[in-house]
């Protein structure tokens, strides 16, 4: 096998693939253009794969086609069957696969560097490629084991509460330093044990980084792992001198980083404190003890709620993850339809952290056939609560908690919340008065004069309201 420079159309084809991927993301700026964007992505991927096969793969085509068929079939079936509520788990699982693929490609390049064009026939790998390879494998391994833990937590195979090892910051930092140090050493000694140790330590730290992070911070974690999977692809692109991989890696890396930033901001949490973990652990003794005084609250029935909403002009519905757990999105949309028939103006208000991943609630509502132009983001609708006759809260809690605005000692202080206290009437569906939100704090909204507590399973309650509305 001789190393000849590939024909220039090859470079152009990879560049075209990269540009098509940019257009795929660009399409997502509006639901109207999004499907065309997805097609661009598919075309880009086809170009990249066909180009590679045409220049490299003709020798072992049957095995490769077999591998693509197995993986592709599995992926396709999963994508068709997955429930929309389980989307965060699926995305975490997909991230882990990208991470593992990066590790495998890195190891394959290490074992056969000549075929990748990163060594002479003597097998001595170029120094720069060693760094890129080490980094690519490390990021890939962290993405893999971190995503596996995120998957287990999201899927309920593992408790969502943080697992805190003693001295974990020291262990984590030590492991990280060891990985960087070994990657440096790898440039002078390309023995297998060096790369093997880097790989093993990276798997370990991915695991250690995610176990102390609580369920409430999972949207940030999923976004962060999304970013890592991109950087892993970019590092491999550097190793292989491939533009399509570098462009894509940079796109995905920035995308995940921006989503992590948006999620952190929506919870008023710093990225560092999310990484440090522990949020959502049992509250310390003493805090909140004083607030446990019994305060009066009003209970309403489905008929009362139906009557009030029928007479209303503007109703704003605030769905949270609890709605998805109760599978109430379809009956909720029916309620919206019934109200619209009565001439009521119905809008949905979505907090950035409603659901378990960025934009999760929008997908769940879209699945229930709620038109996307009735769904509004926090900053676009928060000014409208003063004109709202009813704020209808279903399965959300922390995102309407006014203590985020007033109580400096609250764990959610500073988090942007819906100003539901400005609405004439607040209806709050909740299973019982006992439970508290994800962040484990009491909510003053329960005890306001204009609040009507609708205590029942969310789906059952909305069904009852619908029955009353239909009369």
């Amino acid at each position: 096998m001789e190393h000849v420079a590939p024909p220039s159309w090859v470079g152009l084809a990879y560049l075209a693939a990269g540009v098509l991927f940019i257009m795929a993301l660009r399409g997502l700026s509006s639901p109207a253009t999004s499907r065309a964007g997805n097609r661009y992505g598919i075309i880009g991927m086809t170009i990249a794969m066909v180009t590679t096969l045409a220049t490299h793969g003709l020798a072992s085509l049957p095995e490769i086609i077999g591998a693509i068929a197995i993986g592709g079939g599995l992926g396709f079936v999963t994508a068709r069957k997955i429930k929309m509520t389980d989307m965060p788990q699926l995305v975490a699982a997909f991230h882990s696969l990208v991470g593992m693929a990066a590790v495998l490609v890195g190891l394959a390049a290490y074992l056969n560097p000549y075929a990748f064009g990163i060594s002479g026939p003597d097998g001595i790998i170029e120094v720069q490629s060693r760094i890129e390879m080490g980094l690519g494998i490390a990021i890939g391994a962290i993405t893999f084991s971190g995503s596996v833990i995120a998957f287990l937590k999201l899927n309920g195979n593992m408790s969502g509460s943080p697992i805190m090892l003693p001295g974990r910051h020291v262990i984590n930092l030590g492991t990280l330093v060891a990985i960087i140090g070994l990657t440096g050493y790898f440039t002078v000694d390309q023995s297998p044990w060096v790369l093997a140790t880097i790989t093993a330590l990276s798997f370990l730290i991915g695991f250690l980084l995610i176990i102390p992070i609580g369920g409430a911070d999972m949207p940030v974690v999923v976004s962060m792992l999304n970013s890592y999977s991109g950087w892993a692809a970019a590092a491999m692109g550097f190793t292989l001198h491939n533009t399509a991989m570098i462009i894509t890696g940079a796109l995905v890396g920035s995308s995940g980083a921006i989503l992590s930033y948006i999620m952190c901001k929506a919870m008023n949490r710093s990225f560092i404190s999310v990484i440090a973990g522990g949020f959502g652990a049992a509250p310390e003794a003493g805090s909140g003890g004083a607030a446990k005084v019994q305060r009066p609250w009003k209970r309403g029935a489905a008929e009362d709620a139906a009557y009030l909403m029928k007479e209303a002009e503007n109703v704003i519905i605030i769905p949270g993850y609890g709605m998805a757990v109760a599978q109430a999105q379809h009956v909720l949309r029916e309620m919206g339809d019934l109200l619209k028939k009565q001439g009521v103006n119905v809008k949905y208000a979505i907090h950035p952290v409603a659901g378990r991943m960025p934009g999760h609630m929008n997908v769940l509502l879209a699945e229930a056939n709620v038109p996307y132009d009735e769904v509004f983001e926090l900053e676009d609708i928060n000014g409208e609560f003063a004109q709202a006759d009813v704020a209808f809260i279903i399965g959300a809690n922390d995102v309407v908690n006014p203590s985020a605005k007033t109580d400096k000692s609250s764990p959610i202080y500073g988090m942007p919340v819906f100003d539901v206290d400005k609405a004439k009437t607040v209806m709050f569906i909740k299973r019982s008065m006992g439970g508290v939100g994800y962040a484990g704090v009491d909510n003053d909204v329960f005890y306001m004069d204009q609040t009507m507590m609708l205590l029942a399973d969310a789906k059952k309650m909305v069904e009852d309201i619908n029955k009353a509305l239909a009369h």
Partner: protein, 94 residues
């Protein structure tokens, strides 16, 4: 390609990514994640090179295993994105 050209492509792509992703509507952040997942599996290019190369049997099998994993993501990622995007509908005009 020399290192500086590759680095230039990378840095430019980071900026493009930054601006393009900020223009994505928050309502589509879940499909964004699904599709970035699919496209980051362009790592399949490396897997195909390894899977096709002669010279090391282990390297070849690692490559083929990576092709399987990346293909799950490519087909699964694009298919699930398509499925989600098909659900977003506008209000019917009356």
């Amino acid at each position: 390609m020399d290192f500086i050209s590759i680095l230039s492509v990378f840095v430019m792509a980071c900026f493009v990514g930054y601006y393009v992703v900020w223009s994505v509507t928050p309502a589509l952040h879940t499909p964004l994640m699904a599709v970035t997942n699919a496209i980051s599996s362009v790592i399949v290019v490396g897997a195909l090179v390894a899977g096709a190369a002669e010279g090391s049997a282990i390297s070849k099998w690692l490559g083929l295993a990576a092709v399987v994993l990346a293909s799950v993501n490519i087909f699964g990622g694009f298919a699930v994105t398509e499925r989600m995007l098909a659900m977003y509908k506008k209000k019917e005009k009356k």
